[in-house]
């Protein structure tokens, strides 16, 4: 998968809407290289100091595009994603919640064929600390995202915010955050995000925020076993009753499948610390990162 860097040219799909505008301004202030936006009805105008195009394909006629981030309603996401893939984008961040699953599977198949990384749907986005961010994370808040050497993966944006703040409070800092999304079918899995952070320059340890449902944490545990960098984890939903979707469409336990116990066991058996509360994550990382005294 691809992680966004400050030199990457970014197009904001749905730039002219209220949220698109609000977060584009913040992304620009932070350093994201936003080179344009898309709204078919406002093509040819300027918004947030950049040109508005009718499509990503149109934008690609004028410059190379590395990534797009979209503020698009659920039923428009399929077309928007296919547009970005056709334009030759390598990374697409899909923030939207409630995208029909068959639409997701459709653009996922097209993305795989074109070797495009999709992050999401239903994510708060990604932050490459000190460089750029895509989505709606409070990257600009120094109490939450101080530069450092921890990589953070999360299915939930709000929980990740809390976790990053805890890491920062402990005296450590964040190198990159990858919000992968709370849907059952997502473009970048925990495993893929873990592998990307393991190979990303400046990441010395990884904090993984999982949640009940699916088998992504179990899958990631197999990879964590091969890593030299320490990994700590928190899994949300241990107190959730079986058979209920806990806010996220993917957060549901059916029988033994997706249970807290299964994830905790898989991770602990390969040496990942699974913590009882997110407030213990920073301290656990600090201990694992401390130079070992002979």
């Amino acid at each position: 998968m691809h992680i966004c860097r400050k030199e990457h040219a970014v197009v904001v799909q749905g730039i002219t809407g209220k949220q698109g505008t609000f977060w584009t301004e913040r992304m620009q202030d932070y350093g994201t290289n936003v080179i344009g936006g898309v709204n078919p009805k406002k093509a040819g105008t300027q918004h947030c100091r950049v040109p508005v195009y009718g499509s990503v394909v149109d934008a690609a006629k004028e410059s190379l595009i590395d990534a797009t981030v979209m503020f698009i309603p659920p039923l428009g996401v399929k077309a928007a994603t296919l547009d970005a893939i056709e334009a030759g984008t390598k990374l697409i961040v899909c923030l939207t919640e409630h995208v029909p699953v068959q639409d997701v599977m459709y653009f996922m198949a097209a993305a795989r064929e074109a070797d495009v990384t999709i992050i999401g749907p239903n994510t708060a986005g990604t932050v490459t600390v000190g460089e750029c961010f895509l989505g709606f994370m409070p990257a600009f808040n120094a109490r939450i995202f101080r530069p450092g050497n921890v990589g953070v993966i999360s299915r939930s944006g709000s929980l990740a915010t809390l976790m990053c703040q805890n890491i920062t409070d402990t005296g450590l800092g964040i190198r990159a955050f990858l919000g992968i999304g709370g849907d059952p079918i997502i473009g970048t899995t925990t495993l893929e995000a873990l592998r990307a952070l393991d190979n990303f320059e400046g990441v010395e340890a990884v904090a993984m925020v999982g949640e009940i449902g699916g088998a992504m944490e179990e899958e990631a545990a197999e990879y964590a076993e091969t890593m030299l960098k320490p990994v700590v984890a928190f899994i949300a939903g241990g107190a959730a009753p079986e058979g209920k979707k806990m806010g996220h469409a993917g957060a549901i336990v059916m029988g033994d499948k997706g249970s807290y116990a299964s994830k905790k066991l898989a991770l602990e058996s390969v040496g990942v610390n699974v913590l009882d509360t997110p407030m213990q994550v920073g301290e656990a990382l600090r201990k694992r990162l401390a130079p070992k005294v002979a």
Binding site: E97, V101, S154, S156, G157, L162, I185, A236, P241, G247
Partner: protein
């Protein structure tokens, strides 16, 4: 959204998949009349849950009187917490062979998978565990769909009493139903080969993708709404995700992950969450309705509010919450943890309105709420 057998089978019939003749009934008298019309029949409890047969919710009847007697037992029966209100009176079929067929979304391949087994009538988990060699699967690229060659290939090497091509044809039709109706699961179990040589769907499970509800308005009317408590229904009307639980510590937070975690931490400190209630995403302006709702549950002893603003601004959520608090004036201890977008403003509002300070972090707030709930019990 789940569709019960009586609602799912007509969807199959629309594309030409055979289903036995049936009549939906609400009373034993109606069942007797239906049995009169149909002849030898099966009385089947209609509830959105499995294991109906084991619970005694499926009975054979050869006469109208017998059908009525079974209906008297089945209507009102409880199966997995669902009270039976409807039964399907269905013509009996002669079963020569029982098969299993399904299409569902696979998070690993990120596409649909078509499954077929010669071992119909069993749970698919059971087949997969005990006779995996009997379960044939094919991953589908949803852009191109299931081709006739693929469907034929899937069942090519199976002994199917000569019905291989007919079954491949059924799989194609099932795929059509799956795509047209935004299914996340479509399962026919059993698919039978009847005495007359025809293939019939004897039972069908259909689950609509909740995210596709908006573009399937006609379908939604036929589905079974989730079983919700009064407060949960209220939450749905307000567009707030609220799940009622059996504890006494009220949990209010933004974001699904953060809300689940707040519940976990309450439990970690020995408390029992009274609910899951989250006002993240687009719902962050609904603090007022959310607080009114969580406080309406009887028996609650304390409240923990955990805001961590990103997209959802703490000051906006706090504004709504305080508005409700000031008008309700509840006498219940409340504890806050506040961080992220809009936190400074939210903290000032809290101080000015309730003369309260937030606790330093979520663990402290959850712990305080648990202690307050315990003190309230003494």
């Amino acid at each position: 959204m789940n569709f019960e057998e009586y609602a799912a089978k007509p969807i199959l019939a629309e594309v030409g998949i055979g289903v036995p003749k049936s009549i939906l009934c609400m009373t034993p008298e109606a069942v007797a009349r239906a049995a009169e019309e149909i002849g030898a029949c099966v009385i089947k409890a209609q509830v959105p849950t499995g294991k109906r047969g084991k619970a005694g919710g499926i009975q054979l009847a050869d006469s109208a009187n017998q059908a009525k007697a079974h209906a008297e037992n089945i209507i009102g029966m409880e199966i997995n917490d669902y009270v039976v209100e409807k039964v399907l009176v269905e013509a009996q079929s002669t079963i020569i062979r029982e098969f299993y067929a399904a299409i569902l979304n696979n998070p690993v391949t990120k596409g649909p998978v078509v499954m077929f087994s010669t071992e119909g009538g069993m749970d698919i988990e059971e087949i997969a565990a005990s006779r995996p060699e009997k379960l044939k699967q094919a991953s589908i690229d949803v852009r191109y769909g299931l081709s006739l060659e693929q469907a034929r290939g899937l069942v090519a090497n199976l002994e199917l009493s000569g019905a291989n091509d007919a079954i491949a044809d059924i799989l194609i039709k099932l795929y059509e139903v799956y795509i047209q109706n935004d299914a996340e699961l479509l399962e026919v179990n059993p698919l039978i080969l009847s005495g007359s040589g025809a293939l019939e769907a004897l039972d069908c499970k259909f689950v609509l993708d909740d995210s596709a509800i908006k573009r399937q308005p006609d379908l939604v009317a036929k589905g079974t709404p989730d079983k919700l408590t009064e407060l949960e229904q209220l939450g749905q009307q307000h567009g707030i995700k609220y799940i009622e639980l059996d504890g006494d510590v009220v949990v209010l937070a933004n974001g699904a992950g953060l809300t689940m975690t707040t519940m976990d931490v309450v439990r970690h400190y020995g408390g029992k969450p009274a609910n899951f209630c989250e006002i993240g995403g687009e719902a962050y302006t609904k603090g007022k309705a959310a607080l009114e709702m969580v406080l309406a549950k009887p028996g609650i002893k304390s409240v923990v509010v955990n805001f961590c603003g990103a997209f959802a601004r703490c000051d906006v959520m706090m504004g709504g919450l305080l508005e409700a608090w000031v008008s309700l004036k509840p006498e219940i201890p409340i504890f806050f943890s506040i961080a992220g977008t809009g936190d400074k403003e939210a903290i000032i509002m809290l101080k000015e309105t309730l003369n309260l300070d937030p606790l330093p972090n979520m663990d402290a707030a959850c712990k305080a709420a648990v202690l307050a709930a315990e003190a309230g019990e003494l």
